[in-house]
């Protein structure tokens, strides 16, 4: 091969590679946009708390409610909020579900004790129905779904923004300390 044809072959090979790389670059722009629907699907699948349009809407006072759940040390039970974050509107209702599990092989008597942060939010959230109203007895290994229904008072101050509602599970026979706040 002469030097000239060699240079030509080289040029052609270079151009082919450059086109391939440019296609990769173009596809990667598409990938960036592809991350948008993928992110939505992923968050839904993992139950990730997303930014929400209903909370971004500033025209009506909205309250973000976060549920926190804890279990007293040594108590063989588990409490899980099925939707850990939710939103409510002044004058509206919030219905939240929890999963309550007895992890032991014996019947278990428990009581859930609620508390609020910030404390003043307690005045604007009325519990219409709550699994914390009564003591509960779970059969061995029982899993039960329990509910809370909250009424957000119409006079809720809009600057309140968010409230955390925490439930702590205590065994029945013990006298739970710090009760009575809610």
């Amino acid at each position: 091969m002469t030097a000239a044809t060699l240079a030509l072959t080289q040029q052609r090979a270079n151009r082919r590679l450059a086109i391939k790389l440019a296609v990769v670059a173009a596809l990667m722009v598409g990938f960036a946009y592809g991350m948008v629907p993928f992110y939505n699907v992923f968050c839904e699948a993992l139950g990730v708390d997303r930014a929400r349009p209903e909370l971004a809407d500033t025209h009506a006072a909205a309250m973000r409610v976060e549920f926190d759940s804890n279990v007293a040390a040594g108590l063989p039970a588990r409490l899980t909020a099925l939707e850990p974050v939710t939103a409510g509107r002044a004058g509206g209702l919030i219905k939240a579900k929890f999963r309550l599990e007895n992890l032991s092989d014996a019947p278990l008597g428990i009581r859930a004790v609620p508390s609020y942060a910030p404390e003043r939010a307690g005045r604007f959230l009325q519990k219409l129905e709550c699994f914390c109203f009564n003591a509960l007895t779970l059969a061995p290994r029982e899993t039960r779904e329990v509910t809370v229904v909250l009424l957000v008072e119409a006079d809720m101050p809009p600057e309140l923004g968010a409230v955390t509602l925490s439930y702590m599970l205590y065994p029945l026979e013990e006298n739970p300390h710090g009760e009575g706040k809610a």
């Binding site: 450059a18 990769v24 670059a25 990667m28 598409g30 960036a32 991350m35 930014a51």
Partner: protein, 550 residues
Amino acid sequence: MSTTANPTIDLGAGHHDHAHDHDHDHHTLTGWRRWVYATNHKDIGTLYLWFSFAMFITGGLMALGIRAELFTPGLQFWQPEFFNQLTTLHGVIMVFGAIMPAFTGLANWMLPLMLGAPDMAFARMNNWSFWLLPPAALLLIISLFVPGGAAAGGWTLYPPLSLQFGMGMDLAIFAIHLLGISSIMGSINIITTILNMRAPGMTLMKMPMFAWTALITNYLLVAVAPVLAGAVTMLLTDRHFGTHFFKAVGGGDPVLFQHIFWFFGHPEVYIMALPAFGVVSQIIPTFARKPLFGYHSMVYATASIAILSFMVWAHHMFSVGMPATAQLFFMFMTMLIAVPTGVKVFNWIATMWQGSMSFETPMLFAVGFVCLFTVGGFSGLVLSIAPVDTQMHDTYYVVAHFHYVLVAGALFSLFGAVYYWLPKWTGNMYSERAGKFHFWWSMVWFNVTFFPMHFLGLAGMPRRIPDYPLQFTDFNAIASVGAFCFGLGQLFFLYNVIHTIRGGVGKAPANPWDSPTLEWEVPSPAPHHTWETPPDEALVKKGLAAQALE
């Protein structure tokens, strides 16, 4: 000004021993035409290097503006709005204007010489890749003077802030578009040159380490620069065209931007680090007078780092609220990167082990790099631990960490590279005394500036604030003094380079360091055209044998 005064390439010299069989009319271009119409890889490399130095000074002045304000608590010089513009532009300019173009410039200058190629694969595209940079830089500078000022939400441009700024943000977005296009074209050029234009006998696994790191770095760039371009385009359409990618009101999510940004942003970290590894891997064997230890493991480590860099992005956003499983995944993947990085550090040390070492300026910067980059690597490991990061997120500890890897890492390697190859570029030796002074000055003041930031971060000082509580005063004062001294030292570096260009301490031989790689086989200064006929296989093999690759 300094570019035209730079007689890096002696237009008439070094041609007599090369066969001319094609048109060289661009030789006759002089004055500004030589630079504006440049298609020669050495000219373009020179342009890149001077441009990045100008940006380094610009971004450096902004850093000094930041440090001046933080010298004492309270507001002295700037209003908070302007302070935020300084931190933002400092970051954008240093990352996209200084470090990245400097490495592209090095690749342009050195790859054809090291691989035995006559030029880069696409000479005209090369011209475009460079000449997109000055307009981009100009947009960023202009943005300081438009109503509302420059973008001020940090270099990461997070929404919702970035959706709210004035037109300064639009200018920044356009600047990033230009920089991105420039990077992609530059990368295509570099990859093609490396893959298609090596001298006979130089297989991929026998390339100089610098070529390997350039190859992998530019693959990363082709993959992620478009992702950043996509992300900022979404910002732009959210701002002006009614889309809701990141606007919660319309069902979008600002956190999504962080995911897209860091999918680009973490590989970007390695885009700035890998070429530094390459430079150091050229310098250390030369001055230890031993072949690079563990060449193959170096190649595999570089590739592993590049692949892992796509799987760790969310460690930049541990505090946004992620499922524990996701946090664990990103935490462990991040820690895993320490393994190939450790392989590299140990290989450099093993290269030096029992070597016949001497400490000329390039070697000092390379050894300084190994020490300080490792410090930055370790603070990175600390930050990779999700529960720790939740505490440290957005504190000065993070600032300390990434300046250890970017200043003492990327920048020190660039200084080393400049001193190492300056004899080849200019044909003159630099003053060893002046070079050593520059190294020790930078080494001392770098640590005075950035080490106290670890303590500030641990004590809880947030980044990007113009004012701070009294208890942070002492460490901030120390850091500010260090920063001004460090900055002053870089003017001395400029003096060193100009002094060398003007004749320095005398002519440089073709191979002043007795190094076996191909760039030292051409005369000093490197003639305008080199390797027009590829180096013959015997010459290539001789060099490879000296590197224990044959």
